[in-house]
Symmetry: C2
DNA sequence: ATAAATTATTTCAAGCTTAAAATTTTAAAT
DNA sequence: ATTTAAAATTTTAAGCTTGAAATAATTTAT
């Protein structure tokens, strides 16, 4: 490979790195803000919110393993979060009759009500945080992001 | 406000939410992959790598408070990470003569050498993960991301 | 000079997170 | 039928993370 082409590759690598660092900064800023608001407004945490959101989409409930793979976190992690949600009455564990190893987790009516309340307000937070983005840029961004494929990573 | 305009606002909110969810998915996928590779290849963690990266940029070292605000994490968090880096010989704590409350943290030669080694390989990981992004789209994306301002969040 | 407020850092308790090991149950192979 | 392998989940140990409280030192106000 010629030196000129090698230099181009290095520049490309640096540009990808820049994209990653910028992506990381934005998502960390937004995540920190969301965590803070969930804590102050709703006395809850992002992992708990994520679990409720996943369960809301599945009316019939989810197995522990389905939850952990949907959220891309470890099994043991979900165990702990569910324990706390159960003791708060937002979620129930139901044994699966066909498979005595498995547990299905479902939202309680209380959990569903609480999630819907939070989700509505949460959507407003996101919109206000991304206020600087005009409709045209948002269209381009959504298109670009939808087409990004992370090579080497598990595809959720 | 007319119903038609209200509907547009709701659509805009949903689009912002979609951008956020997509952004979050990408950064979590990449972060998970990077954490995994740091663990397997270098027996280290992302927070430790982040601290080394911050210290590498500041030859004269950083105070604990400067580190925690640069990384957008709590003071107590940095305390623990630095403790482990010190016991591994990658970092030293130097008392500040003018202010007996403060501590300056610096890379040791070992820490710098180790960081440079990892950083070079890390850059390659990022580039390969974002391989699906062609140069043209990468240009547009970097431009868009650079202009995003997160309203209501602390600006790093 | 003294008191009060601020700043730098650490400690603490609680929760999040992971990988690895252990349990229990189911399925497959012999 | 028995053994073996695979799957679902929990437990455990270690590290990350936070907010709040505690310490210690500096700065500001009186």
């Amino acid at each position: 490979m010629s030196n000129a082409i090698q230099d181009l590759d290095i520049d490309r690598d640096k540009q990808k790195l820049r994209i990653w660092l910028r992506l990381l900064k934005i998502s960390r800023q937004m995540e920190a803000e969301i965590r803070e608001r969930l804590r102050v407004e709703f006395h809850t945490t992002l992992p708990r919110f994520d679990v409720l959101a996943a369960l809301y989409r599945e009316t019939d409930g989810m197995k522990m393993s389905a939850l952990s793979s949907a959220l891309m976190v470890s099994n043991g992690n979900v165990t702990g979060i569910i324990e706390r949600l159960v003791s708060d009455g937002y979620v129930v564990r139901v044994p699966v009759s066909e498979d005595r190893r498995a547990m299905v987790v479902k939202l309680t009516p209380t959990g569903e009500k609480e999630f819907l309340h939070m989700a509505k307000i949460h959507e407003g937070w996101i919109a206000s945080m991304l206020d600087s983005l005009d409709a045209k840029d948002a269209d381009i961004l959504v298109e670009l992001l939808d087409n990004v494929q992370i090579k080497g990573a598990k595809t959720l």
